[in-house]
Symmetry: C2
Subunit: 268 residues, 2 copies
C-alpha cells in the first residue's frame, strides 16, 4: 500500500507490488495524472467528517456574508457612514456543482439555516430532500439562470478544467455570488474580472487558485469584491485520516471492500 500526496512524478513506479494507493486528502489529481498508476491498482481517498464540517462552516460563512450584506457594511464602515443596505437581506438561491459527500453535507447545513439549494450533476441522482438537476434533462446554462449563488465543489478532472468561464457564468443573474472551493483550475480568472466589472457577479469568495500561493502581483488581491482565503476552507483532520488509512490497510489484508474507492476513469 502507498500513501501519497503530490508525490514526485513516477515515484510510484519504484513499487511494482503495490496494490492499494491512498491519497492523504480528499483530492486525487496527483494520483490520476501519474502514468505509472493504472486500472490494476486500487485507489482510495480520505472522506473525513471533520473536513466536511469545516467545509460546511466555510460555505455557510460565505453565503451568510453575502446574504446579510456584509460587503456593503465593510464599505460603509471605511467611509464612516451609517447606511442601511436595500434589501437588508439579499434573497438567495444556491446552486451546487459537485453533489458528492461534501456537496450533500453543505446542502444540509444551508437548508437548516433556511436557504434554498439545488444541485447539478452529470448523471441523474436521487438524494432525499435535495433537488438535483442533471445534464441529461437540463442544460448547465439554464441551471445558472435559476440561482444567484454558485458554489463549485467539483473535483478536478480534464472535463472540469476551465468550466467556470465567461461563456458559462454570464448566465447568472446580475448581482450574483460565486464561491469556489473546488479547484483553482476550474475558474478562468480573467473571465471572473470581466464578470465582476459587468456586474453579473457582485461578489466572489475564492479559496483555490490557478497558482498557489496566489502571486503577489495578481489583480485579485486589490479587487474589493473578491474575498480570499488561502486554501483553508476545510482542513483534513490528521487523526481521522490516519484511521481511514489504517482501516483500508486492514481491509486490503483481509480481502474486505476498500472504503472511499476512486474510479480512475471517472476521476474521483
Amino acid at each position: 500500500m502507498l500513501v501519497v500526496w503530490k508525490h514526485p512524478e513516477n515515484a510510484s513506479a519504484q513499487f511494482p507490488n503495490v496494490q492499494l494507493i491512498s491519497s492523504l486528502g480528499a483530492g486525487v489529481e496527483h494520483i490520476i495524472k501519474d502514468p505509472a498508476i493504472t486500472s490494476k491498482h486500487l485507489i482510495s481517498r480520505i472522506v473525513d467528517p471533520t473536513l466536511a464540517h469545516s467545509m460546511q462552516k466555510h460555505v455557510l460563512t460565505c453565503v451568510l456574508h453575502f446574504h446579510k450584506q456584509w460587503p456593503f457594511y465593510q464599505v460603509a464602515k471605511q467611509n464612516g457612514q451609517w447606511a442601511k443596505p436595500n434589501p437588508i437581506e439579499r434573497p438567495i438561491k444556491v446552486g451546487i456543482l459537485g453533489v458528492g459527500a461534501l456537496g450533500q453535507a453543505v446542502t444540509k447545513i444551508l437548508q437548516t439555516v433556511g436557504f434554498e439549494v439545488i444541485g447539478f450533476s452529470r448523471k441523474p441522482k436521487e438524494i432525499p430532500n435535495f433537488t438535483v438537476w442533471d445534464s441529461e434533462n437540463h442544460s448547465l446554462p439554464s441551471f445558472l439562470q435559476e440561482i444567484n449563488v454558485l458554489l463549485s465543489l467539483l473535483p478536478r478532472t480534464p472535463q472540469t478544467e476551465g468550466i467556470l468561464s465567461y461563456e458559462l457564468l454570464r448566465n447568472l443573474p446580475k448581482g450574483s455570488c460565486l464561491i469556489n472551493v473546488g479547484r483553482g483550475a476550474h475558474l478562468v480568472e480573467d473571465d471572473l474580472l470581466k464578470l465582476l466589472e459587468e456586474g453579473t457577479i457582485d461578489q466572489a469568495y475564492l479559496d483555490v487558485f490557478q497558482e498557489e500561493p496566489l502571486p503577489t502581483s495578481h489583480p485579485f488581491w486589490s479587487h474589493s469584491h473578491i474575498f480570499i482565503t488561502p486554501h483553508t476552507a476545510s482542513i483534513t483532520h490528521q487523526e481521522n485520516a490516519a484511521k481511514i488509512i489504517a482501516d483500508n490497510y486492514q481491509r486490503l489484508k483481509t480481502g474486505g471492500p476498500i472504503r472511499f474507492e476512486v474510479q480512475l476513469d471517472r476521476g474521483y
Copy 2:
C-alpha cells in the same frame, strides 16, 4: 388599544380608556419609561419568527466570521499576503446573556452548526438541551471566565444599563469576541476601547449603540477590530407584526389571554 413605537412623552395620557398597549417591535423601553402607562394597563410586544430567524442568521454570521478567522484574512488581503492563521479555526464557546425567545432561537442554530453554547439568567431556568447558569448559583464573572464569545441579547431595563463594563468584561479570556445585539445602553463604549487595546477582546460585532446613528466622529468607525451594522441585525416583518396586533385586539375584545404580554415591573 394603543399601538406605539417611540411615541412622544405622555402622548398616551390622552387616551384614558385604553386597556391594551402594544409595542410595534420586540423592545418596550418606550412604554416602560412613559409615566402615564401603569400597572392597570395590559402591555404586549411583538415576538416575530421572522425577526428570530433574521437574528439567528446575524449572530451566526458574527460567530462564523470570528471562528473562521475572517478578520485575519481581511488584513492579509489588504497586505496582499498569502498567510494562514493559526489555528485555522478558533475554538469557541459562546455565552448568551438574555435567554428569552430570541436567545433560545439563536442557541438552537449555533448548536446545529456545532458550537457549544451556555446561557446566563437571573432566575434558574430549565430549557431542554440548553445549559443555563443563573445568578442564584453562579456569578456573572465566573460565567465570563468560562466562555470566549459573549453575546448580549438583553432587554433594556434599569438593571442592565451599562452592564457591559470594563469591570465585568475583563473576566473574559484574552482574545475573546463580543457581540452586542441587545441595546446600545448596555455597553460602556470607552471601556470596550480599553479592552480591545489590552487584547482581552480581540473582535467586537456591534449592531446597537449609545447614540444612533453612531456619530461621524465616533472612534468605533476607524477601529479595525470592530464590525458595525447599523441596527439591522434583525428586522420585524410588517405583515407578521400586523397579524399579532390584530390577534391581540380580538383577544382583548373577547376576553382571551393576551399573547406576548409584558410585565411592567420586570421590564420585558
